[in-house]
Amino acid sequence: MDARRSRLHQAQLAPAAIQVLQDLTIVFGAPLISGVVAHIEGRLQGRRGPRILQPYYDLSKLFRKETLVPEGSSWVFLVGPIVAFACYLIVPLLIPVLTTYGLPLGYMGDILGGGFVLALAGFAVAVAAAESGAPYAQLGASRAMTFGALIEPTILFVVFAVGIITATDLPYALAATVRSSAGQIVRPAHVLAAVAFFLVVLADTGRIPVETHSGTIELGMIDEARTLEHSGAPFALLKWGSAMKQLILYTILIDVFVAPWGLAGSAGVGSVLLAIPALLGKAVILGCVFAVIDNSFSKLRLFKITEFLAAAFLLAALAVLVYYVGGG
Amino acid sequence: MNAILVALAIVPLAATILTWWTPRRASQVITILSGIMVFGLSLSLVPTTGAGRFLAAGPVLRADSLSVVFLIPTTFLYGATAIFTAGYLHPPEGEAGRRYTRRFFAGINAFCWAMVVAPLANGLALLWVAIEVTTVISALLVAIDDTDGATEAAWKYVLVASLGLGIALLGTIVLYYAGTRVFGASYDLSYGKLVAGAPRFPKDVVRLADILAVLGYGTKMGLVPVHTWLPDAHSEAPTPISALLSGALLATSFYGILRFFQISVRAIGPSFPRNVLLTFGLASLLLAALYLLSQRDLKRLLAYSSVEHMGILAIGMSFAAPLAIVGVLLHVIAHGFAKGTAFFGAGAVVRKFGTKDLRRIRDGTQVLPWSGPMLVLAVLALSAMPPFGLFRSEFLIVAGGLSDPPDAVAAVLVVLVTLAFFGLSWFTTGTMVVAPRSSHALAVERGEPSRFIVVAMVLGLTGLVVLGIHVPGQLSGLLHRAASELEVAR
């Protein structure tokens, strides 16, 4: 028994295998996180909530359904979801999902590169929604793009803050910096950038202070509205992709900014395998925090979003300033 | 423990408390006596401090030549204003009037107390506290008439001046920080210590402190562009308060700037503090000269003249020649005398005509046989005409600016002062000398509103003539001594 454990401990995973594991964690963990959070959210609202594994059932059911295409829409309608899903498969390769050290493909793109890939995914979904010709889908797409443009400056400043703190633009480097000392965690530049990014994630995962991320009120929909016309496998890909995007953003927030602990420091099988539940556990906790926030504040009117995003921008800008002036 | 210093700090305070309880006549007498006594006490400090000694009472009070220079105009105006007030004040009958009188006299004494204590305070922190106290008391005094204009002016004044003083406090704290490099973490901000240690202060920090202090105290002093409260407060306040604000309060704030200047030049050399003062000074002089050409309101006219003179003080300081500094200090005293007298005259005009509108006041010298001509003389004094003290002081400032190496700013100064002279004298002669033609002019009977007003004005003009014709030897010694405290190698 002991011998086996130590063998397991000593066994090293090839970097390529870890990269695959990264993707698999995100791909198969994402519906789980959505399910757990939806369940807890239901409890918060006094309901029993859906089953934890419900997203998996939904996806498998959708994959078995037929695919309907609106009259007059072109191939873009069907390709959009696939492109988006592919993008969500690429991003996990760039960020510290399981390991503290950079994996070979981790140097393929920096934090901006990851941002671009995420933006491409959003673009693909939006184009597919626009192609459907349905008013609500187009409304959702145009809103998503507008708010995306408003969030952009904040993300840029967060990136700047990360960049000047670590003198690199690699997410791995920031996570390593944060781990290096307690002083790094309390330094204002880091705190401010982390909070700003927290707000960005809040807005970007459909928890935005104006959006109802679940439910059927079309006027309050943004992300959900975009997929109204899709069905069958493409719809499943969109739903899955949106769950993955949520987990990716959670992962960046957790493993880069807030709590980069529990990651594997080596390629040992044991530590890498331990990192998976650690990440999912942290993601569940974070998801609960978001759910609590989402349910304890009333939604704002749509145009009030500028205030919310102005606040996020303020924090991100201050992060850069504070660092610039005094190394705070 | 110097008894005179203690008396200077206690007498006006005692007067404040007494006048809160006594009826009007007694209050008048107490205020006048307190003013005269304090003026006498501060004159008695001239010989000792002029000889280069400084006096102290405990860790709190300290007087050197520079403090006494600023005490003189303040305490003189205290006494003169007290006399003027006796003739000026017309409170309504009954309980409301009694309350008004009580507030007025207690307020005026408290205001003067704070202004007397400010130059005596030993250290930048206490100085700041004293000046902030002058702000809050005088804001209440500006509002005391309870008119729309007075309320607006008081609100603007207290807001702008408090903000300025907030900046000055920041400057004080930054300077304190500079000192911690030399004296360790904890020390008091007394002048002797700061001046002695200044050469070892970190330069960048002192630079920041100097800018903040000039901006902060400059707000209170009325330097453009942070002068915005000044014309409103001066024109809407009761005239005795206007006289004190203009002649004494502005000087007190200038004193704060000079203390920072004194420390800054020792820490970072003269060029930076000089340039800061020059910038503010030129802006003030230019803007005031232009505003003086387009005034409709007698008291606003005098207020902008104050801005002009504060600009002259700042520019004079920026020349930093020994001669110019003596001129600046003399200018502080002479401006206090002249501006006080001019406001007293304006008070007589306002009482007589019931308006401050320059278009409706005509033939003042005929209507007011004494105070009318004296107002004209005071305005001529403000325009730096001989034989008044301001002529001598401005002459010294310009001469200092032209002494080696000649400074082109001196020429600009002369041009702008001339421009201001046109504005000031144009309107004053128009109202005081020209006979009424338009139907706007008010018809009023000939006669003085009160003898007290005349007495106060005579005192002021006498002082101006003395300063203009021959500065008494001991005073001259005091001025040179104080200038040497501020002097720097150019």
Binding site: F313, G328 | Y176, Y187, D232
Partner: protein, 222 residues
Amino acid sequence: MVHPAPSTFTGAADVISVLVLLSEFAMLRAPLLRSQIRLYAFQSLVVTALAIVVAASQHIGELYVLAALSFLLKVVIVPAIVLRFLSRAEVDLAGSSAFGVATMTLIAIAVSVFGFFSIGALHLRSTALPSTALAVSVAVVLVAFVLIVLRSDVVSQAVGFFSLENGVSVASLVVASGLPLIVDVAFLFDLLVAVVVFGVLMRVHHGRTKTLSTEPLDQLKG
């Protein structure tokens, strides 16, 4: 230019001072006068906390006294005075402002950028100097200016001044923690006097115009 991480104490002090700045921004945003006053109380509480942190880390016993006094004055008395005035005034409890919230925030950000850069331009950087906190306090002062300029009611303007004083307090705690207690107390006493005078003038203004808006205050020009 990679700066090493500050010590935990400096970092904590910096974060607290940034909180002061953020509450200043929140005041700029707060539409209701009452919430503005509560934010001021919160800001003062943060300043008090900073005083305690500084006192504990630098072993300056006097600062505990100062913290207690400033808590009493700025967290309890001043907000109570202003709130009482508001509840008596019973008019327009929502302040007015010249611009929308996002615009005001951007203006204030621009202004604090100026503050940060002007402090940064002084090259005060050194191991001993908490220049972040100094820059933050300058930014607080500047944002308080923006607040006073852009909000057009007497209560907001008065609160703006009080919060400016909080900004200066941050500076004095961080760069001049050794300031003699008596001087600090004098400053606080002075604030109290100023509060009373602001209160009197606000009451006079309200008594004359029956409003808290500063719009009637445009008679004096030129």
